[in-house]
């Protein structure tokens, strides 16, 4: 996904990638990466936990506005308990 994201930014479309592993985010280096605290298969949070999933999406939208020198512009979601409003 990071390689695809890079092409999108190159053509002027700002991207945010959700990422499970910081190691991968740093190795590939997409433009913007939001590292999530859940296992593979749960990119937004626990299944059927709409509160947490919504909070993850809001964090992703916020990341679009971040400016940074690093590549990627990388943020983490803290390890929220299921159902936390974030």
């Amino acid at each position: 996904m990071g390689l695809l994201a890079a092409e999108l930014d190159r053509q002027g479309i700002a991207s945010v990638c959700l990422q499970f592993l910081e190691l991968v985010a740093r190795a590939v280096g997409p433009p913007r990466a939001l590292c999530v605290p859940w296992p593979h298969g749960w990119p937004l949070g626990p299944p059927e936990d709409r509160v947490t999933q919504r909070a993850t999406l809001l964090r992703a939208l916020e990341l679009f506005s971040r400016r940074g020198e690093g590549r990627p512009i990388l943020e983490h979601i803290e390890n929220l308990p299921a159902g936390s409003p974030g």
């Binding site: 390689l3 053509q11 479309i13 433009p31 296992p39 590549r71």
Partner: protein, 159 residues
């Protein structure tokens, strides 16, 4: 975050030993305020609809094709054809919005937090270990399509 040590040992060994290809771009694209922007959703959950050809699980290097799905789709009709055994398929089958959060994005749009959602959703299957054609062909094709549709932002959701 997900921790390396939580991965299956064979997957962990692969992740640590794989030669990850570095993303190449000159600068980060400037993003408009999401509340005034048009966003495209891109998933690598390997979703297809019943009338679509499933992703090819055994293609050497991974299947780098993608499917165009309507954002008006009923998520209960999504079929997970992802080849990887390294994630929780049961959760994705039970809650497809985990990989394709259409109802939540529409909710944010209705609340004015997101300008609009592009009417086409793009479905890939991850686990592309030889990404040459993805970089050379598929990604430019998709980017050009999104530019033509006046998309400003893209959210990429892996599984």
């Amino acid at each position: 975050m997900a921790r390396l040590e939580e991965l299956h040992p064979s997957l962990r060994k692969w992740v640590e030993g794989y030669s990850w290809r570095k993303a190449e771009f000159a600068q980060v694209a400037q993003a408009p305020d999401p509340a005034a922007a048009r966003l495209a959703l891109i998933s690598s959950a390997g979703f297809v609809l019943p009338d679509m050809t499933p992703f090819r699980k055994w293609r050497l290097g991974g299947d780098d094709s993608f499917r165009r799905l309507p954002s008006s789709l009923d998520s209960s009709t999504l079929i997970n054809t992802h080849r990887s055994e390294a994630f929780d398929h049961e959760a994705l089958d039970r809650d497809p919005e985990l990989g394709l959060p259409l109802s939540l994005l529409k909710e944010l749009q209705e609340e004015g937090l997101l300008g609009s959602l592009h009417e086409t959703v793009y479905s890939f299957m991850g686990s592309i270990t030889r990404p040459g054609r993805l970089v050379r062909s598929r990604a430019p094709e998709l980017a050009a399509e999104l530019r033509g549709a006046d998309v400003d932002l893209a959210l990429l959701v892996p599984v």
